[in-house]
C-alpha cells in the first residue's frame, strides 16, 4: 500500500492526497490558494487593495473575483471590536463569498476561544487557527467539539511540528482534521529553512510517518513585514511573493496563503499548467 498525505475536504475543495514528492514521475498534486483578508487592514498592501481593504467583506469578494480558492481571514481587531461584531463579519463573508474560510484570531487564547465558540454556534464548518505547542488546548477543544479543521503552527522546527500533532491527536483531534503550518520565513529571511522542513516532512510522511502526513500550509505574510516590500515598489513586491510561492510549490505544499492578487493569478496559472 502506498503511503500518502492525508486528503482533506475544505468546502468543495480536496487538498492533499499526494502519493509522491512533486514532479517525481510527473506527479503533481494541485495546491489551493488562500487569499488574506484582515480586520483591521495591515500596513503594507498592494496598491489595488488599498481602498477596498478598509471593508473586509468587499475585500473578500474582490479576492473571490480574482480567483481565490479559500479566504484566510485574520481577525486582529479583538481589542477594538466585540466578539459579536467579529462573528457577524465571519458569517457575512462566509455567506457572500461561499468560499471555505481559514480563520485566525488575535493570538489571545481566551479571546480567540470565545470568538471561535461564537462563530461555531452560528453554524458552519471552518478551518480555525492557530494551535501552538504552548497554547493548543482551548482551540483544539473547540475544533473537536464542532468538527472544524485545525491549523497546527510550529516555529520552523520539524520536531515541534511532529510533537504538536501528537499532542493534538492525544487530546482527541482527528489527524485528518489537522493542517501543518511550519511557519514560513520571508524570502531572504529564512524561507529556505521552511523549505527544507517541508521537504523533510513530506519525505517522512511518504515513508509512513502518520504524525507528519497532514497537508502543509505556507502562509507567505511575513514577506510583507520586511524592508524590501516596505519600500513599496509594486512590481517587485508582487514578484517577491510570486517567487516565494513557487518555491513552496516546488517543496510540495497543499495550501499557499497570499496577499497580492496579481501575484496570486500568476501562481494559479502555473499551477494549472503543472497538473
Amino acid at each position: 500500500m502506498t503511503e500518502k498525505i492525508n486528503q482533506i475536504e475544505i468546502g468543495n475543495l480536496k487538498i492533499g492526497g499526494d502519493t509522491s514528492m512533486p514532479f517525481f514521475e510527473e506527479k503533481f498534486t494541485k495546491p489551493a490558494i488562500a487569499m488574506e483578508v484582515y480586520d483591521p487592514k495591515p500596513k503594507t498592501l498592494p496598491k489595488e487593495l488599498e481602498k477596498i481593504s478598509s471593508n473586509p467583506i468587499k475585500w473578500a469578494m474582490y479576492c473571490k473575483e480574482k480567483g481565490a480558492d479559500i479566504i484566510s481571514l485574520k481577525l486582529k481587531a479583538l481589542r477594538e471590536k466585540t466578539i459579536q461584531e467579529e462573528a457577524e463579519l465571519v458569517k457575512q463573508i462566509a455567506e457572500q463569498t461561499k468560499l471555505p474560510l481559514i480563520i485566525t484570531g488575535c493570538g489571545d487564547e481566551e479571546k480567540d476561544a470565545e470568538l471561535f465558540t461564537k462563530i461555531s454556534d452560528m453554524g458552519g464548518k471552518f478551518i480555525i487557527g492557530n494551535a501552538e505547542q504552548e497554547k493548543y488546548k482551548k482551540i483544539a477543544a473547540i475544533a473537536i467539539a464542532y468538527n472544524h479543521q485545525l491549523v497546527a503552527l510550529s516555529n520552523i522546527d520539524i520536531n515541534i511540528e511532529k510533537q504538536l500533532n501528537i499532542l493534538l491527536t492525544e487530546l482527541g483531534m482527528k489527524k485528518e482534521n489537522i493542517i501543518i503550518d511550519p511557519l514560513t520565513g520571508a524570502l531572504g529571511y529564512g524561507l529556505e529553512y521552511t523549505y527544507s522542513i517541508i521537504e523533510r516532512t513530506k519525505l517522512e510522511a511518504l515513508q509512513g510517518d502518520k504524525m507528519l502526513q497532514m497537508p502543509i500550509l505556507c502562509d507567505l505574510s511575513k514577506i510583507w513585514e520586511i524592508r524590501e516590500t516596505k519600500e513599496g515598489i509594486q512590481e517587485r513586491n508582487a514578484a517577491w511573493e510570486t517567487t516565494a510561492a513557487l518555491s513552496c510549490i516546488a517543496a510540495g505544499v497543499s495550501i499557499i496563503t497570499m496577499r497580492d492578487p496579481s501575484a496570486m493569478q500568476k501562481v494559479k496559472k502555473i499551477i494549472s499548467e503543472l497538473q
Binding site: 514532479f23 517525481f24 514521475e25 510527473e26 503533481f28 520565513g185 524570502l187 531572504g188 529571511y189 529564512g190 524561507l191 529556505e192 529553512y193 523549505y195 527544507s196 521537504e199 523533510r200 519525505l203 513585514e225 520586511i226 524592508r227 524590501e228 516596505k230 515598489i233 512590481e235 517587485r236 514578484a239 517577491w240 510570486t242 517567487t243 516565494a244 513557487l246 518555491s247 510549490i249 516546488a250 517543496a251 500568476k266 501562481v267 496559472k269 502555473i270 499548467e273 503543472l274 497538473q275
Partner: protein
C-alpha cells in the same frame, strides 16, 4: 565501490609514493573520496579509469569561465547541500538594436545580501547570421567581463570563437548530427548537448565524450513547464542512480511569457544554467535572493559579520540594541527595529551563528564576552547615553552585565516584534 573492491584495482606494492603508506590505506581514502587515484604511479590505465569514474560525483563539475557548476550529489538540499549555485544568463540577439544599452544594464544589475554580491553571471549571444554574430560578439566582449555563451550553428560558432576564445565561452550547441564538427571547434571549451529526449541525450553525451569533448552541459528542452520539471528531476535522479551519460549539469531556457515563475521553479529544482531574456531588477532581485537561499548550506546557520549596524540613520541620541549574529535573528530584529520608525544602533555579537535562545543554552552569551564586544565595538562613541536594550530572553544577565560594563541595561521584550510597542 567499497574499499576492498578499490584495493583490488591497486598494484599492492605498498611503495608509499602516492603519499600514503600502504595500498589498503590508500584504498580507504579513495573510498572516502579523499584521494585521487592519479597519484599512484604504478596503477594500470584501465584501473585508473575505473577508479576515477567511481570517485566522481553524480553530476560532473564543469568550469564555466571563473565559475564552477555541477558537482552535485543529492536530490534534496537537506540531505547534504546543493554545492554550486546555478548560473543566471541573459540572452541577447546579435541584431538587437538595444544591444549596448542591455549590456550596460546587465553590468549594473547587482544587489548585496548577507555580504554576498548577487548578480547575473553570463550573457548568451544568439546568432542570426555570421557577420552580425561576429560583430555582436566583439562588441559584447569589449563592454563586459561577464561569461559568454555563443548560440549558433557550427559555422557561426567557429567564426565567433576566433574573437573570444580567451573568454572560454560556452558553445551552444552540439546535437546528434553535428557532433564531430562541434567537438572539433570546441576543443576543451564547454558544450551544450541538445537532443529531443533523454534517451537521445545519453547517446549524444557518450559520443561527445568519445570525441574528447568532456565538458558537457545537457540542455533540457522546455516544451512546457511541466515537462521541463519532469526532465530536470529525471536527470538528477537517474544520474544519482548511476546513469553516467546523464551525469552532467543542465541548462534550460525560460519561456518569455512566464520567466519569473519558471526561473523560480528551475532555481529550486536542479537547473545549473538558467537563461532569461528580460532584464528587470524587480524580478531579478527576488530570484537572485531565492538562489542564494536555496544554495546556502543547510547544515550551517548563516552567520553575519558581528559589529554595529545602523538602522534608519541613527545619531548620538539614538537607541542602542544588542542581538546575536544568527542571520535569521539579525534580519528579524533589523526589520523590527525599522518598523519602530525610530533610528537605532544594532550591536551584533558573535555567537557563531546561534540564535539568542540557542546561544544562551550553549553558553555562548557570557557576561565577559558581551562586555568585551561592547567595549571593542566602540559603541560608546556612537551614543550619548550609555544605554542598551537587550533581548528579553537575556533578562537574567542584565544585573551582572550592568555591573561589568557600566552601561544601563534595559531588558527588552521577549520577541523583537514587540519593539514597536516597547519603544513608544
Amino acid at each position: 565501490m567499497n574499499t576492498l573492491e578499490i584495493y583490488s584495482k591497486l598494484p599492492k606494492k605498498n611503495c608509499g609514493e602516492c603519499g600514503v603508506a600502504t595500498c589498503l590505506a590508500f584504498a580507504m581514502k579513495l573510498a572516502q573520496k579523499k584521494e585521487d587515484s592519479k597519484k599512484c604511479p604504478y596503477i594500470s590505465e584501465e584501473n585508473k579509469k575505473t577508479l576515477t569514474e567511481q570517485s566522481t560525483t553524480p553530476i560532473k563539475k564543469i568550469n564555466i569561465g571563473k565559475y564552477e557548476i555541477g558537482d552535485e550529489t543529492v536530490m534534496f538540499r537537506h540531505e547534504k547541500k546543493f554545492y554550486n549555485k546555478p548560473i543566471i544568463a541573459i540572452m541577447i540577439e546579435d541584431n538587437d538594436p538595444e544591444l549596448e544599452q542591455k549590456i550596460k544594464k546587465i553590468n549594473k544589475t547587482s544587489f548585496e545580501r548577507i555580504g554576498e554580491k548577487l548578480e547575473i553571471e553570463m550573457i548568451a549571444i544568439k546568432a542570426s547570421e555570421k557577420e552580425k554574430f561576429k560583430q555582436a560578439t566583439q562588441k559584447i566582449i569589449s563592454l563586459t567581463t561577464k561569461e559568454i555563451m555563443l548560440i549558433g550553428n557550427p559555422e557561426q560558432l567557429k567564426e565567433a570563437i576566433m574573437f573570444c576564445s580567451d573568454r572560454k565561452p560556452l558553445l551552444c550547441s552540439a546535437n546528434l548530427s553535428n557532433i564531430e564538427e562541434v567537438a572539433g571547434i570546441a576543443k576543451n571549451l564547454p558544450i551544450v548537448a541538445t537532443a529531443q529526449n533523454l534517451e537521445e541525450t545519453k547517446k549524444l553525451t557518450k559520443a561527445l565524450e568519445n570525441k574528447g569533448a568532456i565538458n558537457i552541459i545537457i540542455e533540457i528542452k522546455n516544451h512546457n513547464t511541466k515537462q521541463a520539471l519532469r526532465d530536470l528531476f529525471a536527470v538528477r535522479n537517474r544520474a544519482i542512480k548511476g546513469e553516467k551519460e546523464l551525469g552532467y549539469p543542465t541548462i534550460i531556457f525560460t519561456d518569455k511569457e512566464k520567466e519569473l515563475e519558471e526561473a523560480a521553479l528551475f532555481i529550486t529544482k536542479y537547473a545549473q544554467i538558467i537563461v532569461l531574456q528580460e532584464i528587470n531588477e524587480n524580478t531579478l532581485m527576488p530570484l537572485l535572493t531565492l538562489r542564494q537561499s536555496i544554495y546556502s548550506d543547510p547544515q550551517k546557520p548563516i552567520q553575519i559579520q558581528p559589529g554595529i549596524y545602523e538602522i534608519n540613520n541613527p545619531d548620538k541620541n539614538s537607541t542602542a540594541y544588542l542581538t546575536t549574529n544568527f542571520s535569521l535573528t539579525y534580519f528579524t530584529v533589523t526589520a523590527d527595529i525599522q518598523n519602530t520608525g525610530q533610528p537605532g544602533h544594532l550591536l551584533v555579537i558573535d555567537t557563531e551563528g546561534m540564535s539568542v535562545l540557542t546561544a544562551l543554552a550553549a553558553g555562548k552569551l557570557e557576561i565577559e564576552k558581551i562586555a568585551k564586544a561592547i567595549k571593542e565595538s566602540r559603541l560608546e562613541e556612537k551614543t550619548k547615553n550609555k544605554k542598551i536594550i537587550i533581548p528579553g530572553m537575556m533578562a537574567a544577565l542584565s544585573g551582572e552585565l550592568e555591573e561589568k560594563t557600566g552601561w544601563q541595561i534595559i531588558v527588552g521584550p521577549s520577541d523583537s516584534s514587540e519593539l514597536s510597542e516597547f519603544t513608544k
